[in-house]
């Protein structure tokens, strides 16, 4: 199946916002938008669901806290209790005040790193990954909106996009293997 897309390039973020809203209200489907910087409110305008990555971070933090507690309980209380400067080591809770710094650090360590790794995996970012922005200028000062053109009259869609203020419009025929 050939997926036909139209790439409309805008030179201004406010213009892009307006175009996105008009395109959606005209019931065209925006398959992707590439911008050089975060445009405030664009995700909402395109209709993306809010990201859940902050929730994962919270869960990873809980994991880190548990790891810290389990590790220090095993090492300092269960496996090899020692009298260090007279600090009580009979139970975990008695010794816990001395463990708080590391409990905190490991919580942050897990929450931060695992969240970022999740972000990189979900957004497919890693070394040697090839960039997929269709136009080089979208990392500089241009904004690209990709609209599905299947089942639409391409000429009309083009005219419509031109009216939304697009400065360049190009038709992309993508042969997809299925």
């Amino acid at each position: 199946m050939a997926a036909t897309k139209i790439h409309a390039i805008y030179t201004d973020d406010d213009l892009l916002m307006q175009a996105v809203k008009q395109t959606r209200s005209a019931n065209y489907h925006i398959s992707e938008v590439f911008t050089p910087f975060p445009v405030h409110g664009l995700d909402h305008a395109v209709g993306l669901a809010p990201t859940r990555i902050a929730i994962t971070s919270f869960l990873y933090g809980l994991v880190g806290l548990s790891v810290a507690v389990a590790m220090m309980n095993f090492m300092m209380i269960q496996d090899w209790p020692q009298n260090i400067g007279g600090k009580p080591s009979f139970t975990f809770y008695q010794n816990m005040p001395a463990f708080i710094p590391i409990m905190f650090e490991l919580t942050v360590f897990f929450a931060g790193h695992l969240m970022v790794i999740t972000f990189y995996m979900r957004s497919k970012l890693w070394p040697f990954k090839k960039a997929e922005n269709p136009d080089l200028r979208t990392t500089d000062d241009h904004f690209l909106m990709e609209v599905d053109a299947d089942n639409h009259d391409v000429a009309k869609l083009t005219k419509f996009l031109y009216d939304t203020g697009a400065s360049e419009i190009s038709l992309i025929e993508n042969e997809q293997d299925h």
């Binding site: 910087f37 664009l42 260090i84 360590f109 990392t139 009309k156 009216d163």
Partner: protein, 600 residues
Amino acid sequence: MSSHYEAPIREPLVLGEKSYHDISVDVGAPVLGKANKSWWIVFTIALIAFLWGLGCIIYTVSTGIGVWGLNKTIGWAWDITNFVWWVGIGHAGTLISAVLLLFRQKWRMAVNRSAEAMTIFAVVQAGLFPIIHMGRPWLAYWVLPIPNQFGSLWVNFNSPLLWDVFAISTYLSISLVFWWTGLLPDFAMIRDRTKSPFQKKIYGILSFGWSGRVKDWQRFEEVSLVLAGLATPLVLSVHTIVSFDFATSVVPGWHSTIFPPYFVAGAIFSGFAMVQTLLIIMRKVSNLESYITVLHIEYMNKVILLTGGIVTVAYITEYFIGWYSGVPYENYTYLSFGAATGPYWWAFWALIICNLIVPLSLWVKKLRRNIRWTFFVALVINIGMWFERFDIIVVDLSKDRLTSSWTMFQPTFVDIGTFIGTIGFFFVLFLLYARTFPVIAQAEVKTILKSSGESFKRLRAEHGDDHSHIQTVEEYPADAGPAANVEGKHFDSVFDDSNEEDSENNEVDFELHRGKIDNLLSSIGTFNPEVEKQDDLKKISGVGPVMEQKLHQLGIFTFEQVSRMTDREYDLLDEIISEFPGRAKRDDWAGQALTLKNNN
């Protein structure tokens, strides 16, 4: 859009008439250009210092830490002083990028990248000292909680020194990840702008294939916010834990409950001083004065004033409590009458003058906004904060409880060499960074351009604050959805017949518009191929190959001609070339052409 409003009494954060593209060009210039001579000179000096330090470290490790000036009384001296000094410097970066992000301080955007770089490089230097101090650095992995070969004797989680291991490594790694995530879009910008295939490859790898999808940006912003939320308590915890190294001991002068907040304030104080030192030079060398403005310097000076004030209060408190306790021993601690008049009087007064007195000058607005004076004060604070740690460690230890063991500390050339070496290493890293990394978070700066940029401000001034500077395009009558886009319902044909031309055969109707064309050329000037060179009009955004061809047919070949266009000429142009009405005016061709002409 009214959301871009910035109060006119606020000083702009971006100076001059910048466009988004100008920001890319300015930030990319140091990376894409060639290094100048002064860069090479400074780099060579830093490299020599680094190599000297490396020699001292190798000498220390191969011989033993007896090569340092330590003695029985003073078992910690320059090594831990330098460690705490570097860790402290490493606090400003995360403070700027995390705490100021949570407080929505937009001025952080121009300075956070370099401040974070400085943080990471400073923490690297800091980490060297405990490792060298181990004496057997190849056994450094013993600080990790792994069972050793003598049985399961674990590391001591009660020890603040082990807390340091966890705090510093967490801080270093989280700062690195925070920094790198923010760098991805900027590396991508360099990747897409560079002409050299080698750079394209390198920055392609570094940018992790960042494409700038809207979903990526959504996650990016959330990740930045959460990381900032995590890094804020983290940065406070790190120097708190460093201060525990001293505060949990029983040495008078060290055993102090105000150490954690006082160390954190001192760390931010010294960190901002180092940021000032580096950025004042960098904004000049890399031509970034439009982004790192006097306003930024003043804001940082205000942070220095605040944290310096906290440090001052802490010093006075320490001095007062020591005196008030009435314990004679307290008269030997680093903030006491005994210290001020004893053998280490010079270290005491260096601390007081550098950290208390000189920064007071920043209360004067003129001095706070004076770049030279700021640079001087920043250097003085860097020195003062080194003396603070030296005083805490060496002065407190030099007079212990046994008067017969009182002594002074004499650094050897190895102590000095190692310290100088880390400064060299720090500058080697920073100079390499300044040449290869986008030193300003350009993607973030672009988000504040519309509120701060001069051209956008002028537009608002002309048209009112809630005026949209984009021209409203005519709404396409497709409320009923694409199904309504049926020919004959809203329009007769897709394009007007007159527009149905391909670019190959793209004639302007000369006969019809003869008068108008003459009129147009008379006001913008004609092109003389004998003496003038034709410009690439496609560089003007909004001018494609078709439009260029048409302009050529009209006799418009140079930026000079386009730059003379005013509203009258735009209207004439629209009448002659009818299919792009309003386009020239909306894109401000004349303004663009003027810039391009001047850049040629």
